[in-house]
């Protein structure tokens, strides 16, 4: 039987009822990966042996009637920038092509303790920089809905794996939209949590003031379940939120009558892609029918988000990636004359062109003569964007927008284009402001490609997003029926 399109709650039920065993579930996923990964290229590393071993341990627990943790027996995968002890963690880069971490990320420990089974490590754009997943040293990932198209990025392998049944859920990382963008392109649910909600300990740094780990799942309920498992204060991350962490599953099924949903007039006036906008308007009608009120809001400064984001993220990238020197770990160039040559050559040979471009951009923007003009200016724009959202959230509970202006584009179409011209505009402003946002599938375009809407929440407003998205999903019911069985 094909178990690969089941949700977390489906699998949990079947395990408890003894309809299937943990061993069978894991085997069926590994078989599907074996069959499809050659084509989709979602995985860089598959942990066959460890996954089967852990499945046998868990099966014994199940047989003995022990109390089962929330993700018991659920096969999942992690973005390859999430550190896994004794399992290759490459960041899809030649630089870390042989890096076997001696420690574990907090999220991996939490998932393991919750009974989730790691199937492998997922392909992505190199060092999580990009929106097409074409910059991976290990080759591009294909969109499961159309193999000629990109899955989005940077967490493209994660979204493609969940959409095509190569993992029940995945964790990706999001800096400027890197969970939401591929989730939209692949037709799955992707959440970027509020900055600080999920520990970044063991997430290889891209732009530290915005990086967040978050779940990519088949539906909103699964998103809530995974979020429960990975959140919580972590003393190993100094930005970890000191709050009372709620039970996110308690928001499922809650009524949204009277809730105010804001629609930014600046976004929908633009008319980039009629089909995408039309679907967002259709979603608004559904929300209205569920008793929510649709209110126009204004986010005037978000039009400046992309250039500001590009400068800030590049600046942080240039300093974060200074650690790759070829000495303590990572790629080391051969036959170097001296230490300077060793640094220069190791970095030149170990990094791809997108990463080099970002390092140079960041270094340029941070140089003493240009710091005020570029970096400081971008930080001021960030404040204005943050205030725009604060003002809007004085009037509404949630803001709705498309996740991306367009659906998945063709491979090669935008590769090597400096991402300052990218189509991340709806997602990056949320990252600059440190808010939470979720991409939820809302149907297909005329070519059969998934369209996503973005629901933006207040700081720590994940519960509200889950409530709204879950009600929407119930009302439409297409999410469950629209997975591809390849």
């Amino acid at each position: 039987m094909n178990h690969s399109l089941l949700t977390i709650s489906d699998i949990t039920k079947k395990l408890k009822n003894k309809e299937i065993s943990v061993i069978e579930i894991v085997k069926s996923y590994l078989q599907k990966i074996e069959k499809l990964n050659k084509t989709i290229n979602a995985y860089i590393t598959v942990c066959n042996i460890d996954a089967e071993k852990y499945s046998r341990v868990l099966q014994e627990k199940l047989n003995s009637g022990e109390k089962l943790p929330v993700l018991f027996g659920i096969p999942m995968a992690l973005n390859d920038n999430i550190v896994t002890r004794n399992t290759l963690t490459t960041c899809a880069s030649k630089m870390l092509g042989n890096f076997i971490p001696p420690y574990n990320s907090t999220v991996n420990e939490r998932l393991h303790d919750s009974g989730a089974i790691l199937l492998g490590k997922l392909n992505m754009d190199e060092f999580a920089m990009g929106n097409s997943n074409e910059s991976s040293y290990f080759g591009a990932v294909k969109n499961p809905w159309d193999f000629d198209r990109v899955p989005g990025g940077a967490s493209g392998g994660a979204a493609a794996a969940v959409a095509s049944g190569l993992a029940c859920f995945a964790l990706g990382s999001d800096t400027g939209g890197d969970i939401r963008h591929p989730s939209s392109f692949c037709g799955v649910v992707g959440l970027k949590p509020t900055y600080g909600l999920v520990s970044r300990y063991g997430l290889v740094a891209c732009a530290s003031s915005m990086d967040q780990i978050g779940p990519i799942t088949r539906n909103v309920e699964d998103c809530a379940v995974v979020l429960n498992a990975i959140t919580g204060y972590d003393p190993k991350d100094s930005t970890s939120a000191v709050i009372k962490y709620p039970d996110y599953t308690a928001f499922l099924g809650e009524d949204i009558g009277g809730l105010k949903i804001g629609i930014p007039k600046e976004y929908l006036d633009k008319g980039d892609n009629g089909e995408v906008n039309q679907r967002v308007f259709d979603a608004c009608k559904i929300f209205k029918s569920l008793g929510a009120e649709i209110v126009e809001v204004s986010l005037p400064t978000t039009q400046y988000a992309i250039p500001a984001y590009y400068i800030i993220s590049s600046a942080e990238i240039s300093s974060n990636l200074a650690r790759y020197d070829g000495i303590k770990y990572g790629y080391r160039a051969k036959d170097c004359q001296d230490i300077e040559d060793l640094y220069q050559q190791s970095r030149a040979q170990g990094f791809g062109s997108d990463v080099k471009r970002r390092i140079l951009t960041g270094t340029y923007a941070l140089s003493s003569e240009r710091y005020e003009e570029y970096y400081k200016k971008a930080l001021k724009v960030r404040r204005l964007i943050f205030e725009d959202y604060e003002n809007a959230f004085n009037h509404v509970d949630v803001i709705i927008s498309p996740t991306t202006p367009d659906t998945a584009f063709k491979m090669g179409e935008k590769f090597n284009e400096p991402k300052v011209c990218s189509n991340y505009e709806y997602t990056v402003s949320v990252s600059l402001a440190g808010l939470c946002a979720m991409s939820v599938p809302i149907g297909k375009d005329s070519e059969g490609l998934p369209i996503g809407m973005q629901l933006i929440g207040k700081r720590y407003g994940e519960g509200t997003l889950i409530k709204v998205a879950n009600k929407f999903e119930e009302a439409c019911n297409f999410v469950k029926t629209e997975f591809i069985d390849l």
């Binding site: 000495i327 080099k356 270094t363 570029y374 440190g434």
Partner: protein, 98 residues
């Protein structure tokens, strides 16, 4: 504002990145586009008096007790280094002289 190939070679040097002539050329063009785009888009936005926002975390000065905790074994730390010897990371000679 014009970014020159010399600018790129200077920042590549600071960034410890050896670039080929071809890369110098293409990166010059790319950075020219990026910074031109930034200026064009943001020149009309008045940010006078706005406080720069480096980060959004509300945490400040997170301390922990000053006590020893488990750290990695030496072998574990060294195992990812391409070249190590007698418990050290090995690098090319740094000091001048014999």
């Amino acid at each position: 504002m014009k970014i020159t190939e010399k600018d790129i070679m200077d920042i590549a040097d600071v960034s410890k990145l050896a670039l080929t002539d071809e890369e110098v050329k293409s990166m010059t063009e790319d950075l020219q586009t990026i910074f031109h785009c930034f200026k064009k888009k943001l020149s009309n936005l008045d940010t006078d008096g706005v406080k720069p926002m480096e980060q959004v975390s509300s945490n400040q000065n997170i301390f922990r007790d000053d006590k020893c905790e488990h750290s990695l074994e030496q072998q574990e730390v060294l195992k990812n280094a391409s070249v190590n010897e007698k418990g050290y990371f090995k690098v090319p000679r740094v000091m001048e002289g014999n």
